[in-house]
């Protein structure tokens, strides 16, 4: 242990680290972060996988009016059974008991889940940053009011509010007595509405963090000098404080998005989220859970894609956190440090 400790110290002392060496050349903060992030193997491969998955799903099923390359564009159409529904050349992910192509369904689900994830991220970003920035910058009664409101939203588990909101979105049109066409229209836009609604309940944690950042940064000298130079409050917030807190914001929105994917699929699984005619990975699992013993592929594929999405987004968030954290330095492996220590002693 002691020798190891020594090696460790020696390795760290030498600091044979590309980024650190470059730091003396004078890189901007953005360049340092970018370099650290692109060198984070886990995060970069996760980003690659996520982008590939998104491209694959979108190109397979098309966007809006543009059709994709997959031969069965309608995820609800039934086809003649092949191979007893098991994965076959025509239906690589298999078919369900009435012959629906599972590949089309899963890809549509991936599209829906990604859309909802992005919507949640954007909504959270807008609401959380505005609330946090206003509360942190102006303090006083506005801070109190906004933070009490935040406390209120944060009190209940997100799944509970999410369920209530999900029911609300789906039941409200019928209750208000809208015409059938407009009800159909609302159902068609259900994923979008759900994404925004979930974004509206997930923002408090971000708002708290942003508020903390703003509270700390507004006391700094550069803010004083900007104010003396005659900058307006809005300008100070947007141009001076926000860029300095962007790390916290990006990292947390990313991590939030990964839990949002799981939340959305969970809600859809319970029947409070996306429901037919829309397809989400959650409700695919929910409808197919009974068929597990006979048609396991209906269950494995949607689950696999949920994990891929959540895992990659998590990894990206972790990579971003490391990249934005000035304290983390890339530490060479123990064997590398030993080698450099041996070289170091030989040189002397």
């Amino acid at each position: 242990m002691n020798e190891e400790e020594l090696d460790y110290q020696a390795g760290e002392g030498r600091g044979d680290n590309a980024i650190e060496a470059k730091e003396t050349e004078g890189l901007s903060q953005g360049q340092i972060v970018w370099r650290k992030f692109t060198r984070h193997v886990g995060a970069m491969s996760a980003l690659g996988v996520l982008l590939a998955t998104a491209l694959f799903a979108i190109s397979a099923m098309g966007v809006g009016p543009i059709p994709g390359w997959w031969k069965y564009q309608d995820p609800e159409a039934t086809h003649p059974m092949e191979n007893g529904g098991a994965p076959s050349a025509n239906h690589p992910f298999g078919q369900d008991n009435i012959g629906v192509d599972n590949f089309a369904a899963v890809m549509t689900g991936v599209k829906t889940s990604l859309l909802i994830m992005v919507l949640i991220g954007v909504t959270t970003l807008i609401v959380g940053v505005s609330v946090g920035a206003l509360a942190g910058y102006y303090r006083g009664w506005l801070d109190n009011l906004l933070m009490r409101f935040t406390d209120l939203v944060i009190t209940l588990p997100t799944l509970v509010i999410g369920a209530v909101l999900g029911v609300m979105v789906s039941k409200a049109p019928g209750k208000l007595g809208w015409s059938d066409e407009s009800v159909q229209e609302v159902y068609r836009w259900m994923p979008v509405l759900l994404g925004i609604a979930l974004g509206l309940i997930l923002w408090p944690s971000l708002a708290r963090l942003v508020r903390g950042e703003f509270l700390a940064l507004r006391e700094r000298e550069f803010v004083d000098s900007a104010r003396v130079a005659g900058a307006s409050d809005l300008r100070i917030m947007l141009k001076h404080i926000l860029p300095n807190s962007v790390g916290v914001i990006i990292v947390n929105v990313t991590l939030l998005m990964s839990s949002a994917v799981v939340l959305e699929t969970a809600l859809s699984f319970l029947g409070f989220g996306v429901r037919s005619p829309n397809i989400s990975l959650g409700n695919l699992i929910s409808t197919n859970q009974g068929a597990f013993a006979t048609r396991p592929w209906l269950f494995w594929w949607p689950g696999l894609f949920i994990i891929i999405i959540a895992l990659t987004v998590n990894f990206i968030g972790d990579g971003l956190r490391d990249a934005f954290d000035p304290r983390t330095k890339k530490i060479p492996s123990i064997s590398k440090m030993r080698r450099s220590f041996a070289q170091f002693t030989k040189e002397q």
Partner: protein, 493 residues
């Protein structure tokens, strides 16, 4: 609190639609039915008036009724709460213990293969959707396990793979030089393999029990491990007191069997016995005395606790053949639905076994998910503490690594945990909605889920107010604990 109840009442009121089925119905007296139900649920009044009457009732202790079944919410709640708590408590405790241990070890072996593997695994677990895991456990593991228990035919490939994995785990966790790594790996793999083979070959699965031999091994091992961690083997008094306690436990094994056989047990007795065991442990530690009495007493008590748990588990396992043979479970011991086998009139021990087989799968599902976040959290906080100056000071003044880690680092690294455990516990109760729904436990989550689907506002509100209130309490409690433990933080409330 009032604000919360008001906002959520209005929201839920707007969300649910109790008239949905009637509006679509074709019965001739549709108007009449709608009018009746509206009168019953006061739908003709404004939401504000409804809220007011609900609030008046709630404050007076009347939680309302679930109108579709005409059940009183007040009658449904106690059952649901106890079910949920028993489910979540066990899972949380297990997840915390495992998460803390693995997190600390992973932090101590930072940037090794072990650390990377644990980080990766915890990331994967963290991204797992709980409902997917739960369905998987229910449809796959339960069926597989039950088939296996009915006809234990060992899958040698799986056994070998498991042994090697176990060996790798211990190798990574213990660490050291290559020679030691190989030794640890070989012995851990061999030991795991031997135990598994013994279990499979000897028919242990048909008549599982730990017996006096197993008890002796486990008791002495736990005495040594407890001493090693908390006192160091050099502290002879602590070691001897822990071993004495273990010996007392082993000596009491047969008398206890006799006692368990002739007296009907219940939880009160069990807790009294446990308390007595811990007192004995403390007493032995006290008798050994020495300059550092508290350390010996603590070691003795912990050993007593572990030994008693083993005796308890042994007794529960003994009823397994009888439980397995009883017609109620139809040869499928690992249950997937409900909290207990209905109308199983059995003695205390069989009931415990029955509870255990029911709680097993949901607990695995919950533990897998929350274990990951505890591991990551504990790893982070341990790393932060280990880089502090006082750790360097402690090492510099020549304290052993054990003392540095257990006394100086771990205690401080555990502190942030007190802030998140109460909140996490509640999130789990909320998150248990899914687990309860899938495994058919009629707890709080299922109550909420069913009521929301059935458009019954009263149970939903009872759930929301209860969870919200307890969350607020837990937040205050967490702040308070943190303030108590960390004098640097002042709670101005």
């Amino acid at each position: 609190m009032f604000l919360l109840s008001f906002v959520s009442y209005i929201m839920v009121d707007f969300a649910i639609d109790p008239l949905e089925d009637l509006r679509a119905s074709t019965s001739p007296n549709k108007e009449q039915l709608i009018a009746n139900r509206s009168a019953m649920l006061m739908l003709d009044k404004s939401p504000l008036e409804r809220y007011w009457s609900w609030l008046i009732g709630f404050v007076q202790g009347d939680f309302g009724i679930a109108w579709q079944t005409q059940q009183k919410v007040g009658d449904m709640l106690p059952n649901a709460i106890s079910t949920s708590v028993s489910l979540v408590l066990m899972a949380t405790v297990l997840a915390i213990i495992l998460g803390v241990i693995v997190g600390v070890v992973s932090a101590l072996r930072q940037y090794t293969g072990f650390d990377y593997a644990i980080t990766f695994v915890s990331f994967v677990l963290y991204s797992l959707p709980v409902f997917w895991v739960a369905v998987l456990l229910k449809q796959y593991l339960a069926i597989g396990l039950n088939d296996f228990l009915a006809k234990p035919e060992p899958n040698w490939l799986l056994v070998a793979a498991g042994s090697i994995l176990c060996g790798l785990f211990w190798m990574g966790a213990i660490g050291g030089k290559p020679g030691r790594l190989a030794l640890v790996f070989a012995s851990a793999t061999a030991a795991t393999f031997a135990v598994v083979v013994f279990i499979l070959i000897s028919g242990w699965l048909d008549h599982p029990s730990i017996g006096i031999v197993g008890l002796s091994v486990i008791a002495i091992a736990s005495a040594i491990v407890v001493t090693m961690l908390f006192a160091g083997l050099a502290n002879r008094r602590a070691l001897y007191s822990a071993l004495t306690v273990a010996a007392i436990g082993i000596a009491l094994y047969y008398p206890l069997q006799w006692y368990f056989y002739f007296f009907e047990m219940d939880w009160l007795y069990i807790f009294e016995l446990l308390g007595a065991a811990i007192l004995v442990g403390l007493g032995v530690g006290w008798l050994f005395g020495g300059p550092d009495r508290a350390v010996s007493m603590r070691g003795g008590a912990l050993t007593a606790l572990l030994t008693s748990v083993v005796v308890f588990v042994d007794r529960v396992l003994q009823v397994y053949p009888q439980y397995y043979a009883s017609g109620k479970i139809r040869g499928r011991p690992i249950a997937t639905i409900g909290a207990e086998t209905p109308s199983l009139h059995a003695d205390f021990w069989t009931t415990q076994l029955d509870r255990f087989t029911h709680i097993l799968l949901p607990t695995i599902a919950l533990v897998l998910i929350s274990f990951a976040s505890y591991t990551r959290y504990q790893r982070g906080s341990m790393l932060e503490v280990m880089s502090q100056d006082y750790i360097r000071t402690a090492r510099a003044k020549g304290l052993s690594e054990r003392v540095v880690i257990m006394r100086h680092a771990l205690r401080n690294a555990l502190m942030p945990l007190t802030a998140i455990v109460p909140i996490d516990f509640l999130t789990l109760i909320g998150g248990a909605i899914i687990t309860e729904t899938i495994f058919g436990w009629s707890g709080m989550g299922k109550l909420f889920n069913d009521a929301l689907k059935a458009a019954e506002i009263d149970p939903v509100m009872a759930y929301i107010v209860l969870v919200g209130g307890v969350t607020m309490l837990a937040n205050i409690l967490a702040d308070f604990c943190y303030g108590l433990l960390d004098p640097r933080i002042r709670v101005n409330a």
